[in-house]
Symmetry: C2
Subunit: 536 residues, 2 copies
């Protein structure tokens, strides 16, 4: 039996740490392994276990609020770093506007506030004194920012104005919370821009949407469908909303991943963002707003994770390579440990995030489980026999593939290539899984049965709000599949439109209607193939 | 008259933009120039004018909350970038804990909460419904984080635990707010660390304090006095507080610039942060917490600004060099504009933040004022005659010094050197101003008269809390100088201890007591020379 095989046997047998760790001592062996439950058997518990055991999230004594531990927060930092540098290239500047908003400002745009008001948290007291006027915690910052925009934008020369902020917002929802996906406080960036023409605003809406897609596809390896929200689903008070929509294969749910809104001139009218145009007359500004949240992390966990725990794409993994020296009783472990450190140093110099786990109070099997649970893309093992051959063993987290006898002399190249391979493989796998579960239908009769195969539906649709209402209502009535909701994920059986996909998409082909195509629901003339699904 | 002199004449004459700018059209010429009032004549109005006209700050419809515009926020980003990378070298990881805290958690440590409770903002409603239990907005996060620390820290192997977060906090003060310095919401980082020994905690307290000092001295060019807070002034609930204290020469006020606290075992006792030590017994963790806020920016503005507006140290200036092409009627401006762009490109390649102001709707004089108001360290002028000599003119914002005939061929070297010179000169000037205004006294009779020369006082002191109470009370009674308060800066005439300075300091010599030295107030045996002052 090879060194590695011996260790794997140990890994399977019993993964108790040698040290008496209070945290785990009381738990059974089964609970200690990976996610504790199979992803396909109890997705809800699987998710909770994975994000807590991997030390991404901890629970908190206020419902709907969670602690983002360093293992999760450092992923957010990577997303921030990418997106922030990209928007700065577009001339966007960061700023900070207050957390609190007055009732007057909040109520300025009626459609907007009616979309948010049930979820607004109100501060009414400081110390023991009541405030003269209660103030709200921002659910989003249109109403916080736009009174200032009205002051700052006087001339066409003050345009475009492009500001962004990385902040926390609070939406006091009463739906059952899901860490990362639906939380009462979350972190996001919100960009708020103003232009002198609709054309410029339109261009930016799509530039930002493309950046959002890149965050998901390039960093998180999660494929997106780009499209337009329907009237029913667009941002409250805006003109139109573009969106990227993700897919969770395990339960067949769609999930809104990020949105980029053109607000048109609705807000500029209400907030009086009027300027002197180049011809000396008065014009209202055209505005956009766009946001990306910590939801990103939850979607990535749900898409890639497996029964052993997290599977992190290399581009956002806090640790990309963990090196585990294999030590044996009665064998001097010094050469192996030194070799591990030397390799680590070499990889670090190439910008690879590497960690040597040379804790002497845990056996290698425990360590294998530990780093698999945390989703580290590559595990490197080095034992005395490997070292004798000037080689190491490499194991990929995403597919479990092991490669033996990797020469230490070419280790940097091998690791770099393997990280690239993993990144690409994760995206490709997710694309395949998603595309197998996006089904084109033409008749209403197929709708709920198709959803019940954990699929999304692409169907020709009339684009009439009342028809969408009917789809939601009827699909809810026809749906029997509410098992997920009972497990605590709060998903109704009803389906809604996710988006009207743009025809030109990477990774997926969107069918086009002809003049004869009818709406799958009401039979009227169809406008576009539209993506429907049960969703978060 | 040289080109430059002509422009300067224009600059002095009338600085109206050519364009009809609504923002400024109604203001008189005087108001338009620089800060509008002299720094020494009305410091309060000067400060307000400088931070608003330079577009650092805008006012907001909730009292005590301000908008940080890009010109200010980008300075905060530079401070973040420096400090964040330094603490990561110390093994600190970033995380995010919730904004809201339950009443139960908030009240766990009695001394702590009594220090904060009058300022706590309470959320009592969401939408139209009252919350079952009100929740507080964090004034600081000890009580938010430490219940989790109790869960996470089980074994000595879990220590040290070093977390930090960059967040907003709310303290609903009723003292008159001052943008950056005293605001109801502010941005900060708060580090919270736990160790198995007091020795390790002590070491970190001072490491962090040194980093805070470097933020002020190396980035912001503002000198600090490092020291220990007295019992009266230390952090509520902590063991001891170290501090760096700044000085505002214009009004002679001290200002607490940042603090690094050793919390001892008070919080670990109250929150039950107990772990199994290496010997198998139980121990309480030793804890620190430390914070640096956006106050940094306000202190820098007050120290360096002048009658023309902001003066920004090069290391934090959003724009380090502004290039202004000098164009003249009937002269083709193309060569000058092209030369400006070419120089800009060359400087950018060396990492210098450069901007070419080639707006054609403003004259050079207006532009000079504009960029002086915004504090850009170097102005570079290039006109046809300069270009004919392959040279430019450089003007330093800090001292107004102009250098003519700087060869374009060596421009990168000249600019780099000049930026370094400005950075060093600003710190040296601030050190001199401060040191001239820190006066050593030995008798109470000198105390208030010395304060009244806009100075701080170094005096031998007994380090007894009751004596400090007496100093505060008596100095308040004896003080006549409440002029600043009436101007809206909310400074009382009373003085308090700022810190007990460490003996070993850069830039300032702290006298040492002998066995015979008596407390300047009560005549008891003196413990240490202590820094007193009126303060923010």
């Amino acid at each position: 039996m090879s060194e590695t095989n011996k260790v794997e046997k140990k890994q399977k047998e019993a993964k108790q740490p040698k040290a008496n760790n209070n945290n785990t001592a009381s738990k059974s062996k089964t609970e200690l392994l990976g996610a504790g439950v199979k992803k396909e058997e109890d997705f809800s518990e699987w998710y909770t276990n994975v994000i807590t055991r991997s030390e991404m999230i901890d629970y908190y004594d206020i419902s709907g609020c969670y602690i983002l531990r360093p293992w999760a927060f450092s992923i957010w930092e990577k997303i921030q770093s990418f997106f922030d540098s990209e928007i700065k290239k577009l001339g966007v500047q960061n700023a900070y506007f207050p957390l609190l908003v007055s009732e007057k400002a909040l109520n300025t745009e009626k459609d907007h506030i009616s979309g948010f008001s049930p979820e607004v948290a109100w501060v009414t007291r400081s110390g023991d004194s009541n405030l003269a006027e209660p103030v709200a915690i921002r659910p989003t910052s249109e109403t916080v920012m736009y009174p200032s925009y009205a002051k700052w934008i006087r001339s066409h020369r003050d345009l475009p104005l492009k500001l962004n902020q990385w902040v926390n917002v609070v939406r006091w929802e009463f739906k059952r919370p899901v860490p990362f996906l639906r939380t009462r406080e979350f972190l996001w960036q919100e960009g708020h821009t103003a232009f002198s023409s609709k054309e410029e605003a339109d261009v930016e809406v799509y530039q930002i949407l493309e950046l959002y897609k890149r965050v998901y596809e390039e960093l998180l390896a999660v494929p997106m469908v780009k499209g337009m929200k329907t009237e029913n689903e667009k941002f409250a008070g805006g003109l139109y909303t573009t969106t990227i929509e993700g897919f969770i294969p395990t339960n067949g749910r769609g999930i809104q991943a990020a949105t980029s809104h053109c607000l048109g001139q609705n807000f500029s009218k209400m907030f009086n963002i009027e300027y002197e145009n180049a011809e000396g007359g008065k014009s209202l500004a055209w505005q956009n707003s766009w946001g990306l949240t910590t939801r990103t992390i939850g979607v990535m966990v749900m898409v890639h994770g497996d029964d052993k725990g997290l599977v992190l794409p290399p581009k956002i993994a806090p640790i990309q390579v963990v090196i585990i020296p294999l030590t044996f009783k009665d064998v001097d472990s010094t050469p192996v440990r030194e070799a591990a450190q030397k390799i680590a140093k070499q990889l670090k110099e190439q910008g690879i995030a590497v960690h040597v786990d040379d804790r002497d109070n845990y056996n290698p099997g425990f360590k294998f489980n530990h780093w698999e649970l945390k989703g580290v893309p590559i595990r490197m093992e080095i034992g005395p026999k490997d070292l004798a051959k000037d080689a190491v063993v490499i194991c990929r987290r995403d597919n479990g593939e092991k490669k033996f006898d990797i020469p230490i002399s070419t280790i940097t190249t091998t690791v770099t290539q393997t990280l690239d391979d993993i990144q690409a493989a994760l995206l490709q796998k997710a694309v395949n899984e998603r595309n197998n579960k996006i089904k084109t239908i033409k008749e209403w009769a197929e709708f709920v049965p198709t959803l019940n195969t954990n699929s999304l539906v692409l169907a020709p649709w009339c684009n009439v709000p009342a028809c969408e209402d009917a789809i939601k209502k009827t699909s809810g009535e026809e749906s029997k599949n509410v098992a997920e909701e009972e497990k605590g994920f709060c998903l109704t059986g009803a389906a809604k439109s996710l988006c009207i996909p743009f025809v030109d998409q990477e990774h997926i082909k969107i069918p086009q209607i002809t003049e004869e195509t009818k709406c799958f629901k009401c039979g009227a003339h169809a406008q576009k193939y539209t993506l429907f699904g049960r969703s978060y």
